[in-house]
């Protein structure tokens, strides 16, 4: 796989950055939809009545931390320090799981308070946007756990640093999207 390439860049990494570029448009469209429909709900619950800022701030914190664990995991793999790599990889996945748990809790409490997909346009746009992000987190968690298991099996080593780096790119991108969502959906009501 590692022929000399024209740009001197790893092909998989290049492909992955193109993919991330493409994802920008995906989330851009979803976020646009959310913003366009902001304040267009015909019936409540409306965002200020239902969004829980302290709770979501914690989720945000958690996701930011998991990004830190991710870079540390990559640094460990690059050093060849597989012991710490396992720790950080698992930590990152755990951060993702906590975030997802929070989202499950948030969604179910919203549904409890009467906000569903069908209830109003806020519900529809909110669930589809954050749900799409959540789906990305889920994929990321599975991916991270896969790497972690392979690390436990001893099948992941410094020679796979690029794989870990790409996983990291994905994970940080998901984090970056959340940074935007947190501001546009939660803080700017």
């Amino acid at each position: 796989m590692t022929h000399a390439t024209s740009l001197g860049l790893d092909s998989r990494k290049l492909a992955f950055w193109t993919f991330i570029g493409s994802e920008c448009l995906l989330f851009g469209s979803l976020i646009s939809t959310y913003l366009i429909y902001k304040g267009k709900s015909l019936v409540g619950p409306y965002p200020p009545e239902i969004l829980d800022i302290p709770f979501t701030s914690f989720s945000t914190f958690d996701l930011l931390m998991s990004s830190l664990w991710m870079v540390l995991a990559l640094a460990a793999v690059q050093r060849g320090d597989m012991k710490w790599a396992k720790v950080w990889l698992f930590g990152t996945a755990l951060g993702g799981l906590i975030f997802l748990g929070g989202q499950v809790y948030e969604f179910s409490s919203f549904v409890h308070e009467g906000l569903t997909l069908q209830r109003n346009i806020f519900g529809a746009t909110f669930f589809v946007l954050t749900g799409c992000h959540g789906a990305h987190v889920t994929v990321g968690v599975i991916w991270l756990l896969t790497l972690w298991v392979r690390a436990l099996q001893g099948k992941l080593g410094p020679e796979h640093a690029m794989t870990v780096e790409i996983t990291g790119l994905y994970w940080h991108f998901v984090d970056v999207v959340w940074i935007v969502i947190f501001t546009l959906v939660y803080l700017i009501q």
Partner: protein, 103 residues
């Protein structure tokens, strides 16, 4: 940009840098949430929050995703679509007359 650039050994930043970035990110997040709760900020809330989240965005992309040290090419591949996405969002918001900044 073409031939011969050997896979340049983009020295990844050290754990120290990562932790410093994380600290800044956390502080910004705290400020964001704080600003949200302080009534005095109401008039400038939206621009402030947009700016803060842009800073966070940039930090993560620059340091955690290594765009700062990595090949310029990645910046281009990511920046182009990001630009299109932003243009599309701004255009759509204008067209639907919900330009949030102007509220």
């Amino acid at each position: 940009m073409d031939q011969g650039t050997p896979a340049h050994d983009h020295s990844h930043p050290t754990a120290g840098t990562y932790i410093r970035v994380a600290t800044i990110l956390l502080i910004i997040t705290v400020v964001e949430v704080g600003v949200f709760y302080v009534p005095a900020f109401k008039p400038v809330l939206v621009p402030t929050l947009l700016m803060l989240s842009a800073v966070k965005f940039t930090l993560v992309v620059m340091f955690y995703m290594h765009l700062k040290m990595d090949s310029r090419f990645f910046t281009f591949i990511f920046g182009g679509p990001l630009l299109l996405a932003s243009g599309m969002m701004i255009g759509l918001l204008f067209l639907f007359g919900v330009f949030v900044l102007g509220r």
